[in-house]
């Protein structure tokens, strides 16, 4: 049994987000991290690996620098890693991205008992689309917003969160599950031995040449050309005028606030 974990390297938006004068994002000034929801997907995969005999493969699509992130995941306990990287894949929207990742997974092979894990969404794009689109392109069931996952043979039972509760859903493998962070649970740390060994573990690079014979990979379904959506315009919103910093003692500040709210007829 094999578990694929799809991960993405993202800019750390919890730090300072820098915007260039032309309104585009200054990525160079931001640190990169593994997308937080993807770490939850990784943890879910490792929890299954703890109990079952299985191979955990981490898969990412991105520039060559993403190898650093893959090594970290190998140090956490993944068995092998796959980096999908090629100039032809650049500029992909979610449709084209999922097309390429689905093509790569077909290339690697998807067996009856296998599962694909993704994070719910990436913090840079926030679309939550790539997971379900991979599932559709591979024609397998999907369960999104998964909190708890139990696997028995070719059957999984998942707690799927809703805004006002949850559903218990059962499905058969192969399937795709997108994971969310549940309260109190976190992802595990890299181990010292893991860090020691992570450079010995296999890391495969799949470029356009390697994947071009896959049925899903066609020049008009990948990259910028294969992306149905385009950016029409990007812009920065106007800065809101700076507000008033109230001054004085605590009591004076509280009183001036009450007065200001009263003058605005907000009480």
């Amino acid at each position: 049994m094999r578990i694929y974990v799809c991960v993405k390297q993202v800019p750390d938006t919890s730090g300072k987000v820098a915007v260039n004068p032309d309104g585009t994002l200054n990525r160079a000034s931001m640190e990169t991290i593994t997308n937080p929801d993807d770490l939850m997907a990784m943890e879910q995969a490792l929890l299954i690996k703890d109990k079952n005999d299985c191979q955990v493969t981490v898969v990412t699509m991105g520039p060559p620098q993403a190898e650093g992130m893959l090594r970290e995941l190998l140090a956490m306990g993944a068995d092998d890693a796959v980096l999908i990287s090629s100039r032809e894949f650049g500029g992909s929207d979610t449709f084209a991205t999922s097309q390429i990742i689905a093509g790569a997974i077909q290339h690697l092979g998807l067996e009856k008992e296998d599962i694909i894990f993704c994070g719910r969404q990436a913090i840079d794009g926030d679309t939550a689309q790539v997971g379900p689109q991979i599932a559709e392109k591979l024609d397998i069931p999907q369960i999104t917003y998964a909190a708890d996952i139990e696997k028995e043979g070719d059957c999984v039972t998942v707690k799927r969160m809703l805004e006002d509760g949850y559903m218990k859903i059962k499905t058969s493998t192969p399937c795709l599950i997108t994971c969310i962070k549940e309260q109190e649970s976190g992802s595990r740390y890299m181990t010292l031995n893991g860090i020691n060994d992570c450079y010995e573990k296999p890391l495969q690079i799949l470029d356009y040449e390697a994947l071009k014979d896959e049925p899903l990979i066609e020049t008009d379904t990948i990259g910028l050309k294969g992306s149905p959506t385009n950016i029409f315009k990007s812009f920065t919103p106007p800065l809101k005028g700076a507000g008033v910093m109230l001054t004085g003692t605590d009591r004076e500040m509280a009183a001036s606030l009450a007065k200001a709210l009263d003058e605005k007829h907000m009480l």
Binding site: P11, T13, S14, V17, V19, G23, L25, T94, F95, S98, Q121, I123, D124, D126, T127, A128, Q129, Q133, A135, E136, K137, P141, Q142, T144, Y145, T157, M161, E163, D164, G165, Y166, M167, K168, K170, C175, Q183, P228, T229, N230, I231, K233, S234, F235, P237, P238, G243, M245, L246, D250, R251, M253, A254, A255, L257, A258, A260, L261, D262, M266, L267
Partner: protein, 368 residues
């Protein structure tokens, strides 16, 4: 059935997927129908609600009351509870047959599951969590004039562009992007709940709405997932999105979490009754449940008054509250980024200041 998403000239009309749970429509359906009405008028097209469920025909009037011309009802016992397989099949079958130009879906946990599955099947584009939609170019230019820092005099537009222009925040609202889907149809969009304004309900329109029953073809082998049970959490739904007053707490309450939450409740009460929210730090620490979370991965709120108590103001948090009418921030760090978007800033210890705020506000109200 001769469906080709690239033959864009064959597609017409605007669809809104109307999500129901337990036979009740979701609040966001009404926001989408109201917005859809505006778009349909800009495009000179019909606005059609698409309703999937089991014995849900009776809900069609409610959808009409907010502006839908017609409701396509897909009624089948296997649509009673949401499953990706059944809903995606029925919605895609209908879309392939009727060829709508636009499909809008609320970005709920269910809408965000359904939307991408359908977009992949229909081979078309989907834009996630939009906060503003336009078809008419004049409307779009007006929007940019008030909502962007672009130099409009130097920006040229093709005024006869009839693509749906879907605008969404990126990177926590620091950047906005308008996305189009020019080469494929239907153009699909999930829309962030709580952002668009709901229209007035009209009983007259509700009575006039056309209802069309769509013949659903489903059988057990179409559905590969089995819903064993649906649990509603006993706790009351926190109505952050609809609240006029939201008082949120952040990591600043760590000194005495219970007292911090109590103060927030008191302040909300003094301001006229409201809901307590929290930043992600508070949710992650387990001090409040996830339905209280305001921000990019939580809820977007735009109350009349938003109070941030001990919240530093990371962009992920601001993304969920910066459009509030009036923002008050209390923080002991005068450099906290929350003060950049606050109308009134108070630097100090919230455990000392908030009780005084409650007193002063109550006193001010009593004087009237």
């Amino acid at each position: 059935m001769g469906f080709d998403s690239a033959k864009i000239e064959e597609f017409r009309n605007i669809w809104v997927f109307c999500e129901q749970r337990d036979g009740k429509l979701m609040e966001t359906d009404f926001e989408l129908i109201s917005e859809g009405r505006k778009l349909a008028d800009e495009r000179g097209a019909e606005l059609i609600g698409v309703l999937l469920g089991d014995q849900v025909e009776g809900l069609a009037g409610e959808i009409g009351g907010y502006g839908a011309d017609k409701v396509i009802v897909c009624d089948h016992p296997m649509l009673k509870v949401y499953t990706t397989d059944a809903y995606a099949k029925v919605l895609c079958d209908a879309a392939m047959e009727y060829k709508p130009e636009i499909i809008l879906i609320g970005a709920s946990n269910i809408g965000r599951d359904l939307g991408p599955r359908c977009a992949a099947r229909l081979h078309t584009g989907l834009t996630a969590d939009c906060t503003h939609l336009d078809i008419d170019m004049n409307e779009y230019v007006n929007f940019l004039t008030t909502s962007s820092t672009l130099d409009m005099d130097k920006t040229k537009f093709k005024m006869d562009d009839v693509n749906l222009k879907m605008t969404r925040p990126a990177f926590g609202g620091h950047l906005m992007a308008t996305i189009i889907c020019p080469r494929f149809r239907p153009c699909m969009s999930t829309v962030r709940p709580g952002v668009l304004k709901k229209a007035e309900y009209s009983r007259e329109k509700a009575e006039k709405v056309q209802v069309e029953m769509y013949p659903v073809h489903l059988n057990a082998k179409d559905i590969h997932t089995q819903v064993i049970e649906v649990i509603k959490e006993a706790k009351q739904m926190v109505d952050l999105i609809g609240a006029d007053i939201v008082v949120s707490v952040g990591r600043g309450i760590s000194k005495d979490v219970e007292k911090g939450k109590e103060l927030a409740t008191q302040l909300a009460g003094a301001l006229g009754g409201g809901v307590v929210g929290g930043s992600r730090a508070v949710i992650d620490a387990g001090w409040l449940t996830a339905d209280h979370q305001v921000g990019q991965t939580g809820k977007t709120v735009h109350p009349k008054i938003y109070v941030a108590l001990g919240i530093s103001g990371a962009i992920q948090h601001k993304a969920g509250m910066q459009d509030s009418d009036l923002i008050i921030a209390v923080n002991k760090d005068e450099k906290a980024p929350i003060f950049d978007c606050a109308d009134y800033g108070l630097v100090g210890d919230l455990f000392k200041i908030v009780p005084m705020m409650v007193e002063e506000i109550t006193e001010m109200k009593d004087k009237k």
